[in-house]
């Protein structure tokens, strides 16, 4: 308001050379005023003004063109981005479905193979094979046993005091200890959150996640074990169970052991068998025996100077 009054009173006021003020006050190109003055002094010829008008029209056409192109470009870019994202999402979903289908098919085929094998083998051999499969974790097993339940401490208990970095959590070593104690208590099959343990299973930590056989498991952790009736008593008398009870008491982790009837433990995925092969280098394996097949205890390669290569 006051500025306007000032303007009226003193229209010829000279402003300080403040860039922004100048910008706001005088956005019009001074060239227009200069051109108008020039025109008054020296009016342009008729032809000259007409050609200038034509150029203006052309420039306006170009401007419209520019606007349309920019608009289309922006509109095209946007769906491009969201299309890429939704395309990726559909691809991920598709792959997941394919994986599910393929694993279901693999299960089917595995069962089929088992049936065929049972039909081909004699009764005692098939039974022995099934026992072996159950023992090694490659077959689904059912039976009575115990379930050990471990869970992280509730979050708010220690977060308030700020004692450490977050609430106490179950560590991978706890799961390892429980699994080992169960094995030594006579367990015949163990699974952690539905992941069957085999002779080659690993229980590791990666960051804050616990990986069982390289698949993440999240708390609460249920370690199910099938074994003889004395297993629960023997497990509870073990050093690991005592340790876990004490840890639970001190940190607020939950640790429970209960007997469970009719547990079903799933089969472990087919193990990736790795075979040792003799080195390809003939000088390194003087016997030159490359036929050492999987699992063959070929003594011909062991004395080779290279030490068997891989």
């Amino acid at each position: 308001m006051s500025v306007r009054r000032d303007e009226r009173e003193r229209p010829s006021r000279v402003y300080a050379p403040d860039f922004l003020t100048e910008l706001f006050r005088n956005p019009l190109e001074p060239g227009y005023a200069a051109a108008a003055q020039r025109r008054q002094v020296d009016p342009p010829s008729r032809w000259h003004s007409r050609s200038a008008r034509t150029v203006t029209v052309v420039v306006l056409v170009v401007l419209g063109f520019l606007l349309a192109v920019a608009y289309r470009q922006t509109m095209e870019d946007e769906p491009g981005r969201s299309q890429a994202r939704s395309g990726l999402v559909t691809q991920v979903k598709e792959r997941e479905r394919e994986t599910d289908e393929l694993s279901a098919r693999a299960d089917e085929l595995r069962e089929e193979v088992g049936r065929q094998r049972d039909a081909a083998l004699s009764g005692s051999a098939a039974a022995r094979l099934r026992d072996l499969e159950a023992g090694t974790g490659l077959g689904r097993v059912r039976g009575d046993g115990v379930v050990v339940r471990l869970a992280d401490a509730p979050g708010d208990a220690d977060a308030v005091t700020g004692a450490g970095a977050g609430p106490p959590r179950v560590l991978y070593s706890d799961l390892q200890g429980v699994a080992n104690a169960l094995w030594s208590a006579g367990a015949e099959a163990i699974s952690i959150n539905g992941q069957r343990l085999t002779a080659t299973s690993t229980i590791r930590s990666a960051g804050e996640a616990i990986l069982v056989d390289f698949r993440p498991v999240t708390g609460p952790y249920e370690v199910s074990a099938i074994g003889p009736g004395s297993m629960k008593r023997r497990f509870e008398q073990s050093r690991n169970a005592a340790l876990m009870r004490e840890v639970a008491e001190k940190t607020g982790l939950s640790f429970g052991v209960r007997e469970a009837d009719d547990l079903t433990l799933p089969a472990a995925p087919e193990p990736q068998l790795r075979y040792a092969e003799p080195s390809d280098n003939p000088s390194a394996s003087p016997s030159g025996d490359r036929s050492a097949g999987p699992g063959s205890t070929d003594s011909g390669t062991s004395p080779s100077p290279s030490g068997g290569g891989r």
């Binding site: 956005p27 019009l28 227009y32 051109a35 008008r53 029209v57 419209g64 063109f65 349309a68 920019a70």
Partner: protein, 110 residues
Amino acid sequence: MIAVLALLAGVVLGVWLDPSVPAALQPYLPIAVVAALDAVFGGVRAKLDRIFDDKQFVVSFISNVLVAALIVYLGDQLGVGGQLSTGVVVVLGVRIFGNVAAIRRHLFRA
């Protein structure tokens, strides 16, 4: 009137031809549009002030677009393209606002 028709003709041409902008020129398109808008609003204001001049309009349009593109290009080469683009948009935006305010005063006397 002719000017509006020419503008519409340009839009129709752009939609009809549907040209694809080369990837190298794409960063300059939005800045060029803002610079062109500045020239247009300056021209409209001059028209309403009755001091419109064709030559002035054409020169200011072309130089605005070129200078804006040049600044963005320089910024890209120097690694401050985003900031310089923002600067160009702020300056041109302020000018557009001032011109539109003048146009508004002309049209609505307010």
